[in-house]
Amino acid sequence: MSTDQRVLNAAAPSVSRRRFLKITAASVAALGAAGTFAESLSNGKPAEKGLRQVPTFCDLCFWKCGAIATVRDGKLWKIEGNPLDPLSRGRLCPRGTGGVGAHFDPDRVRTPLLRVSERGQEKWKAVSWDEALDFIAARMRKIQATYGPESFAAFVHGIGGTFLKHTLKAYGAVNIAAPSFAQCRGPRDTAFRLTFGDDVGSPERTDIENAQCLVLIGSHLGENMHNTQVQEFATAVGRGASIIVADPRFSVAASKAKFYLPIKAGTDLALLLAWMNVIVGENLYDKAYVEKYGFGFEQFAAELRPYTPEWAYPETGIDPDTIRATAREMARYRPATLIHPGRHSNWYGDDTQRVRAVALLNALMGSWGRKGGFYIPSSMDVPAYPYPPLPKPSKPKIESLINKFPFAGENISTAIRDATITGKPYPVKGWLVYATNLINSLPNQDETIRAIQQLDLLVVVDVIGSEIAGWADVVLPESVYLERHDEMNPELFKHPFIALRQPVIPSPAHQKPNWWIAKRLAEKLGLGAYYPWNDIEDYLAARLKAGGYSFDELKRQGILTGKQPPIYFDDGAPATFDTPSKKIEFYSTQLAQAGFDPVPKYTPPEPGPPGSYRLLFGRAPVHSFSRTQTNPLLSDLMSENSVWLNAAEARRLGLNSGDYVRLRNQDGRLSNRIRVKATERIRPDCVYMVHGFGHTAKGLPHAFGKGASDAGLITRYKTDPLMGGTGMNVNFVTLEREA
């Protein structure tokens, strides 16, 4: 190795970092990211010697795995799973293990920032917390006075948002959304609620470890690293469970499958209907279960008749024999046959109906409430903090006024965005954005930016200089999860437990935890009475005491576990269904009444322009969405994404793996450059990329311009008429060679 290279490697995280620093020197310096990696490394107390272990729970995604962080000589060393934790079972996923890098992230925002030029130009002035919060409180008061508190909306993702939501509700806000509903699990939760009267939940109540037949429709477990699910998936694979995967891409999960169905994207409902046609037609379903718990089976069965495997073949590309064979395979193992409900289920705009078909197929298998299917979860009882009562909202939330999406169970992020743009049903003039990078998580970035331009105030609470932070009027830098307390987590899960998040190490600069920000903001808004506690430890202690738990034990162990009630019907778990019929609704009267198909009906997806590829996207195991690309540990493992292209198509286009291309979508939008992965692992009619790359924020010099952004190409979306989910797999691209 040449000396030059060695010096570089030793001194700086990467060569390219220097280059980006140069490009963005001015703005970056303002963000405070100019502080070097080495500087942040030395931020632990130098006086501390030896090893110290602190249990907490992970925040690299929303799974909330119990973890134990080890500090060596005052410096964060490693993070491992907490063996007491039922979610992690002592093992984290790669992101959790790489959580160390969240603390050392070189692109962290170090002080509160106030915008000093036009929105989106990312020019800032560093200010004190008091200045920043005074500014925010003044504007919030003005919005409250001029338009009413409902005109201040919020986007809050994750457990860290608990206290900010409390402050906002005290202020009178009613529109608080997260992209985890309309852009994620909304269709699924709605579909299962319509069918079984209950959500699948997060963590999902799927009993994968006991499933004998597991059907994955798109769910790319193994790349989707939701820890417990992946662990259980591996257990199932190790046990030799029969695995069926339908995916246009030969996913990692597909490589473990007994049956891989290379389905044409967007036609899953056809496959599901054909499967059910076979299962009902051949009397393979769980008759006793259906008779006992089912409602409207006859109408349902009648509706299925046209959907034969022969009918489904031209739609899906899956031959009738395979459809029959897989249907029989499922029936063979029922009720321990789990058709996984998926999670990121907003694909084509008809998603609730598609996932309802998944729910119905599960109902035919009798898997809900059964071992190897869906268990009945429980949680430990921790009483809420006895806060003073919150003010009654003066206006209803936006969704209730627009007369759309009758089955939306939560606020719809894109409905707030629409209202902000149109001013209807009432103006929305302020946003608080906590831990969600809206520019990358909502479809159609132009609309998001247009909405932002209507605002009188955009506050972003983030840990790094993300895209949404770049558009803010005020950026509030939060301490990362390793540096703070949070709301505790009494998880609804197979095994009831409480998990604690507590600080492992101090923040490197002026960052503050969300509870402190929320409380201080409430005080500035004159809402101090809603925070009767001084410090979050008081809050946590009070709640735990009320529940009869020991805070000391929780601090020491990170986890308290409780007794597990029966989780299967067969063991005495209550078989109750919170639907109108109090049964599993094969035929949904609710849907019929609202003018929707009571039994799912198939409509083929619209094709793209000739010669284009459908753009699909998903997860890489070492990254979470658009939030980990600056994490030095994780970006070292994957610093850019690539676009998967069928090998034969690549040959046709004269492209080789590693070549750079740009993607142009049907609306002419051009992506950043991205490498081709020419592979036998994908259909020839679509391309695939990992979500989260292609950052455009100057505040992220370490991720800037690396890889391409799927979000930037998702200019179109199809909204689910039942619940407002935004189907995003409806964009098409062509590839342009990059010189």
Partner: protein, 179 residues
């Protein structure tokens, strides 16, 4: 005597790289380097490809060419389990061992010495599994003693089909892949 080995179940491995991250933190592997990595090998054509995912690292070969080529004795086979290690103080950084390893398992540490997987001998000496093995969320990695017929690695090798990497190179690897 013991002979340490790693047995990795490719049926369970999902290629998540947790083993890589864990190694990096546990062993303070410098940024830009890795002691272990993931290989994905695809045979066949769409729609019936076959994918094998492997977590790879130094194979702690029983016949290690990296040791026989080392001019200073820095690369050596340790008595403890036959693990192949590098004495940092003896290493001159001549890179012969890098060129000698058919698996490209070694690299030159920014401090100038040849570095690679140590089988986490510092952990094993304390009765722990190597870091990568201990974090693997799919439990697909196993570590143990080949000389102990009751060890998990011995039992797995006796009961499952397996292969090593480049057996034709004659290095006798001690990382085994169950298929």
């Amino acid at each position: 005597m013991s002979r340490f080995a790693m047995v990795i179940d490719t049926r369970r491995c999902v290629g998540c790289q947790d083993c890589v991250v864990a190694c990096k933190t546990e062993n303070s592997v410098p940024q830009g380097y890795c002691r272990d990595w993931i290989v994905e090998e695809v045979h066949g054509a769409f729609p019936t490809p076959h994918l094998e995912i492997r977590s790879e690292r130094c194979n702690h070969c029983a016949e290690p060419p990296c040791v026989s080529c080392c001019p200073t004795g820095a690369s050596h086979v340790h008595d403890f389990g036959g693990v192949v290690l590098v004495h940092h103080d003896l290493c001159i950084g001549c890179k012969a061992c890098l060129a000698a390893c058919p698996y490209d398992a070694r690299f030159i540490h920014p401090d100038g010495y040849a570095d690679k997987c140590t089988f986490c001998i510092h952990r094993v000496a304390k009765g722990l599994d190597p870091a990568c093995v201990s974090v693997c969320p799919t439990h697909c990695m196993h570590f143990g003693d080949l000389d102990d017929p009751t060890s998990e690695v011995s039992r797995l090798l006796a009961s499952r089909t397996h292969h090593t990497l480049l057996p034709e190179a004659g290095t006798q690897p001690r990382v085994f892949y169950l298929t």
